[in-house]
């Protein structure tokens, strides 16, 4: 019999019941909650007169709606009354049911997918869910982490289980070494460019190979974060020394004997050598260039040295129409050089790229330089209060401010523009977030997905440039 994949192991370890009809009950170790997808779930519990199954498995924080300026006023500082009610509702629900919440004024507040790992609330081998599709981020720790809908949030609150069908196994291997200036973000954009936004649908993707193993946890999180952009609800990386070093000493991490026992188990969390995958994709890390998305879907990416595609050269009529529509929305010309795309704003942040390493990379590019005068705004939004204070301790905030970037308070911010941070109609933005859908960052806004280093370089130039030219 073939060996097990990492996904098989995680599945087997959490299987409560296999039903005859093919569905299964999977036990959930951790649920992360935020203000947007939880209110209806708590309401459902109340209406059915149910209680949460296991309070200590939950951790909550407001992130999507919180303002990134003027946070001293707390919830009162949220100008939009509808947003304020949502944040207040999360607070009330957590208080009522006794769930731990990092509230808006708590230094530990931040984007759910940043604070889980930061607190050690994300540990290898866990099953983790959150009413947010980027929950795949946590798979970087050898976790089985799913984004779920609100009905499932309620289901997990009430039963500590999720009803699942087992997915297929997919392996994406990135061999060799990444070039200088090429980051986890470029790797995952290149992968999505290759397999498409539905390339991983129905599969749990494991990312492996030398280039992935050499990445830091931050880089791995960036890659798993965007598994969903390739259609896969789950992205994972096997546990190794890098994982264990990262987890050690965090507030929720085990200590003493429990730590030793945990590490022993965590060391088994990798695919067996003879495991079989349903689908395998390979990339050569050395060939990956800094990436820039030019269209309205994350698969619409190009090398920074490349050009916007020409729809006339596309044979598939549906794809051709998709390219034409994207170019029209984005206000771009066929065959235009990527480096000729002029920018209005730059956003460095989001659960994809707002961790300390991301900020260090961006700061190293802008240090001693100035943001282009043609830009309306360039902002840096750290992923959590703790990332913010760490960055300030390292002096990164000063580097950004001196270069002319705004230094904000933590939250989702312009990633989806639910708070006050958004693009104006027709504006082009170099963004380190994960989605470039129409209107994602504001009505009529035009998003280009890039790495933090590429966003920083673009902020200096006012248009896209190959960051490798600035790194010397």
């Amino acid at each position: 019999m073939a060996g097990k994949t990492l996904y098989d192991k995680l599945w087997d370890d959490h299987l409560v019941k296999q039903r005859d009809d093919g569905s299964a009950l999977i036990y959930i170790d951790r649920q992360l909650l935020h203000e947007v997808t939880s209110p209806q779930a708590f309401e459902g519990l109340r209406l059915a007169n149910r209680k949460p199954w296991r309070i200590d498995a939950n951790l909550a924080t407001p992130d999507h709606n919180v303002p990134t300026t003027d946070r001293a006023k707390g919830v009162e500082g949220i100008v939009d009354p509808v947003s304020r009610i949502q944040v207040e509702t999360l607070g009330k629900n957590c208080d009522e049911f006794g769930i731990l919440e990092f509230k808006i004024m708590d230094q530990r507040q931040g984007i759910v997918h940043v604070i889980g790992p930061e607190q050690g609330a994300t540990l290898p081998g866990m099953t983790i869910v959150c009413g947010d599709s980027h929950t795949s981020t946590h798979g970087a720790f050898g976790c089985l982490a799913h984004g779920i809908g609100t009905s499932e949030v309620e289901h997990v609150l009430a039963t500590q289980c999720l009803v699942q069908q087992k997915m297929k196994n997919m392996l994406v291997t990135v061999n060799g070494q990444l070039g200088k200036g090429v980051t986890g973000k470029d790797v995952v954009l290149a992968i999505i460019g290759k397999i498409g936004t539905a390339g991983g649908t129905g599969h749990a993707i494991e990312f492996g190979g030398e280039a992935i193993q050499n990445l830091s946890m931050e880089g791995r999180m960036t890659i798993c974060n965007m598994a969903i952009e390739a259609g896969a609800r789950v992205g994972m990386v096997a546990v190794d020394g890098t994982t264990i070093d990262y987890v050690k000493g965090r507030p929720f991490s085990p200590t003493g004997d429990a730590w030793d026992a945990a590490v022993k188990y965590w060391r088994t969390l990798h695919s067996d050598l003879d495991a079989e995958f349903d689908k395998v994709v390979e990339l050569d890390g050395a060939e990956i260039m800094p990436q820039v998305s030019w269209g309205t879907s994350p698969e619409m990416v190009a090398d920074v040295t490349g050009n916007v595609p020409d729809p006339a050269k596309e044979e598939d009529p549906i794809k051709r129409e998709g390219i034409e529509r994207a170019l029209k929305y984005m206000g771009l010309q066929a065959n235009q050089a990527i480096t000729d795309i002029m920018l209005d704003r730059v956003f460095i942040g989001s659960c994809t790229n707002s961790r300390i390493e991301d900020l260090r990379e961006a700061a190293s590019v802008v240090q001693g330089r100035k943001v282009a005068k043609s830009l309306k705004q360039a902002m840096v939004v750290p992923g959590s209060g703790l990332v913010k204070s760490q960055a300030e301790a390292e002096g990164l905030d000063q580097i950004f401010i001196e270069a002319g970037l705004e230094w904000r308070d933590p939250g989702c911010s312009m990633c989806l523009a639910m708070n006050a941070d958004k693009l104006g109609q027709g504006e082009h933005c170099a963004s380190t977030s994960n989605r470039n859908f129409e209107g994602r960052q504001g009505f009529g806004g035009r998003t280009h997905l890039v790495s933090p280093a590429m966003a920083a370089a673009a902020a200096i130039a006012g248009h896209f440039v190959d960051v490798r030219e600035l790194l010397n």
Partner: protein, 215 residues
């Protein structure tokens, strides 16, 4: 949950692939703490010419005449015919809530994004996967004849055209069972509460670090 057995309704063809959840219901409408009332903002950016804001009377807004749902012939449509990878993007259940609130009961496409597909079943909405060729044919027929209706039978797992042609579809047994009987998932799972408890007790022994930390 509302049960789904059979449904017959007018078909609206939305000829566009990769329709994402931001398109189905833009984020400014996710601030509601309710499950209802999202219908007027379904496909907001495609449907209206102006920028949609929460708490606004959408009946007064300028409509985009080119958008399929604004064409009089598709008024009252309850079957949405769509292209591949429908519902990609975020996990927001507001997307099926909006489709449901607008009046859709069935969505037919060659493929769906996983989370969206799953969310539909939790809300009495039936997503049906049919082969691309068949979807193409349905597009042609729906566009060619006004008032075109499809009949969907979940028990028999079939979609029938007005000419009597019938196509089978697959749906997994558990989801079908819950939908046919309008079952509350949570209630079904809690029938196994003892099993969950014993799993949990065992896990407390083998992985004690997963319990009570950080509190």
């Amino acid at each position: 949950m509302r049960a789904f057995t059979q449904h017959q309704g007018i078909v609206a063809p939305m000829d566009r692939s990769n329709v994402d959840t931001d398109m189905i219901i833009p984020k400014q409408f996710l601030k509601s703490i309710k499950r209802t009332g999202f219908g007027p903002n379904l496909f907001d950016e495609l449907r209206y010419l102006d920028e949609g804001k929460p708490d606004q009377d959408s009946s007064q807004r300028p409509l985009n005449p080119d958008f399929v749902l604004n064409q009089p012939r598709y008024k009252g449509a309850s079957v949405l015919l769509a292209r591949s990878n429908f519902g990609c993007g975020s996990s927001r259940e507001h997307a099926p809530w909006a489709l449901d609130d607008y009046g859709f009961r069935v969505i037919i496409a060659p493929s769906f994004a996983d989370i969206f597909y799953n969310n539909c079943f939790k809300n009495g909405l039936l997503p049906i996967v049919l082969e691309e060729k068949i979807v193409d044919k349905l597009f042609q027929e729906a566009e060619a004849s006004e008032g075109y209706k499809l009949t969907v039978d979940l028990e028999a797992k079939t979609v029938a055209t007005p000419s009597g042609e019938s196509f089978g579809f697959d749906v997994d047994d558990f989801r079908r069972h819950c939908l046919l009987h309008g079952l509350d998932d949570i209630g079904v799972t809690l029938e196994d509460a003892e099993l969950i408890k014993s799993y949990e007790d065992q896990r407390r022994q083998t992985a004690p670090w997963l319990f009570g930390a950080g509190r």
